[in-house]
Symmetry: C2
Subunit: 375 residues, 2 copies
């Protein structure tokens, strides 16, 4: 087993020693250097982007400001201040790290990073309504507290605020960034659309390619866009911008694969979610779809088990049987190999845009961080 932390360290030393993270495997704890570097980058991104995000949110008229402030964790439902948790700031951190990696000035890109964060949160507000999700970041979702209509409106307003930030930004890269972010929103919507249509189809009726394309649109697109915006704000050329977009996309896909593995085999004590919740919901996650497509005997068993929706609460034994079938059909191994392959492609794209390894360090640390979560 090769620790990709080593790859990362090597990459920071010189391109000659660089190699793809082909033997990438999820670990049950964060590594040393990169994990703490990533934590610092995330904290710094949160600190630099929050004043801009708060200023934008506080410009909203009363009713919607309250919903948005609740969603970001700054207020309780009754409007009293909360020491909330607005998420990990991965997307703004990617914007800022990408600017730096391409020799741009980070301070100039804070608005762009805030626009990405607002866009991300607009999609969370709407996705929670559509998916009827009751909790987000360990709190009741906005729509369960304020109603569907207000959550939809607050999301709409956050999308508008994101675009307004870029439209009012005098930076020469702002217009291209705005166009790119808008195109990304369309892709995010397409990903969410595909995800919800998959839920209505039977097991075996969703191909692995469709599933990968959905994950790329739903998760990879905005991580790619964040990196691309950083490149645009550094004044990078077209091929660097596209390469950084590719880096973010591939890392995003690796993240989703690992996230799906955690959703089945993760330790509830670490994930904060009930064990095997994705299986109980009959989610067509990537390991499950890969298992179903494997043509194995276990795949046939899995199709049979997954085809009949749970009539009520299932026993741990029932869900364990499904998890075993996914694993026996090769779903877990495929997902981990695929994640490693995606990380390798991500590193490849990154090296095309940022040939100086020292400059790529922060982006690597963040990519490592998102794909190496505790489970």
């Amino acid at each position: 087993m090769t620790d990709t932390t080593t790859d990362m360290t090597e990459m920071a030393q010189g391109p000659a020693e660089r190699r793809p993270a082909a033997e990438f495997e999820a670990h049950d704890q964060h590594g040393g250097y990169e994990a703490s570097e990533a934590a610092e980058l995330l904290t710094a991104a949160r600190l630099s982007v929050d004043p801009e995000v708060r200023r934008a949110v506080d410009s909203l008229p009363g009713g919607m400001r309250r919903i948005a402030r609740y969603h970001f964790g700054w207020e309780h439902a009754d409007g009293t201040p909360a020491a909330g948790h607005a998420g990990k700031a991965i997307r703004p951190a990617l914007v800022l790290a990408a600017v730096r990696a391409l020799g741009g000035e980070q301070a100039m890109a804070v608005r762009a990073a805030a626009a990405v964060e607002l866009t991300h949160n607009f999609t969370l507000l709407h996705d929670d309504v559509m998916d009827r999700d009751p909790t987000r970041r360990h709190r009741a979702t906005a729509w369960t507290v304020f109603g569907e209509a207000d959550a939809i409106l607050a999301g709409d307003a956050l999308q508008a605020l994101a675009q307004r930030l870029l439209a009012e930004d005098p930076h020469p890269g702002a217009a291209r960034a705005a166009a790119r972010l808008a195109a990304c929103v369309v892709e995010l919507c397409a990903g969410q659309h595909a995800d919800s249509t998959f839920e209505r189809r039977g097991p075996g009726e969703v191909t692995l390619d469709e599933c990968l394309a959905m994950a790329e649109a739903k998760t990879g697109a905005l991580l790619g866009c964040a990196c691309a915006l950083g490149a645009l704000y550094a004044g990078a050329g077209r091929s660097e911008v596209e390469a950084l977009d590719g880096f973010g996309r591939e890392a995003g896909l690796a993240f989703q694969l690992i996230d799906d593995v955690i959703g089945i085999w993760g330790d509830p004590g670490h994930t904060g979610k009930p064990a095997r919740a994705d299986l109980a919901a009959r989610k067509k996650s990537l390991p499950v779809v890969a298992a179903l497509a494997s043509g194995t005997r276990a795949a046939a068993d899995l199709a049979e088990l997954y085809g009949r929706p749970a009539p009520g609460p299932e026993s741990d034994g029932d869900l364990e049987r499904i998890a075993h079938a996914v694993e026996a059909a090769g779903g877990k191994d495929w997902a981990l190999m695929q994640a490693a392959d995606r990380m390798s492609r991500a590193l490849n794209q990154l090296s095309r845009a940022v040939p100086v390894p020292e400059a790529a360090g922060s982006l690597l640390a963040l990519a490592e961080f998102v794909t190496r979560r505790t489970y």
Copy 2:
């Protein structure tokens, strides 16, 4: 009774003869010259803006393209072509007329006009979900056909497409237009938010000022924004842009007042809606709120009638009693006077931005058109 058509004609002749439309009153049919001029402007706007709107919509991925094409009336629910009715194109027509009025080149502003039309349709898709409206433009609403989630996503995508059009527009006014349109979306959301909170409050618990502010945000803001965008694309200065925004806002408020009058006293044969539908739904429309605030005996009767929600389908007699109470309490007269006053303010703003009356002709014809609907 003074016909404001006369005002308009006079205004087209010379500023000396101009006077406010203080005696404005709704008519049961369109006037002569201006109505046909408005019809021509709307047709021309639809023709010039539609290719741009269609190109944007057709750039959407499959699932969402279908929903949007259905919403615009270009396709039936099964995807077969429909000779649909995408609305009156009032907002794009205002953008194009405003550009011309300020000496700009109309052809350069087609993208901005399309962006406004896309934004309007994004809000319609979402409003229909939130209000649970079953029909729009004589067809089943998109959410009733494709489900709530897909209607929300299609709306999100249309908002993004609108901003993308402006972000990709090399016109020097495009960035300011994008910022203004984004700010307008926030105002539209605030208007819709206020509207839905009013529905949950009792009759007497919504003040007339709140109600007017809501109507300005929900209806006036986008008409004002359309005119302001036209001014920006004509390279107009700040004061002209603001004056044109004011013109559109006031005309929009006049439109809403007339629309509310039609909603109570309109002829269902003309409006296509059931008679007194707004009263049956206990809508806190402007004439009703004005009547409730009048301090008259009829206001007390009305509060009593409006306070108890209809236990089931009401007889025509019940609804007629409510309509009589609104009228007896002065709600209808107030609304018509207020509409006249708003049109007068609109003309005043317009004359500040466009001192040459000939140049203002198209904007006047459109303002007349929207406030003089058949009922």
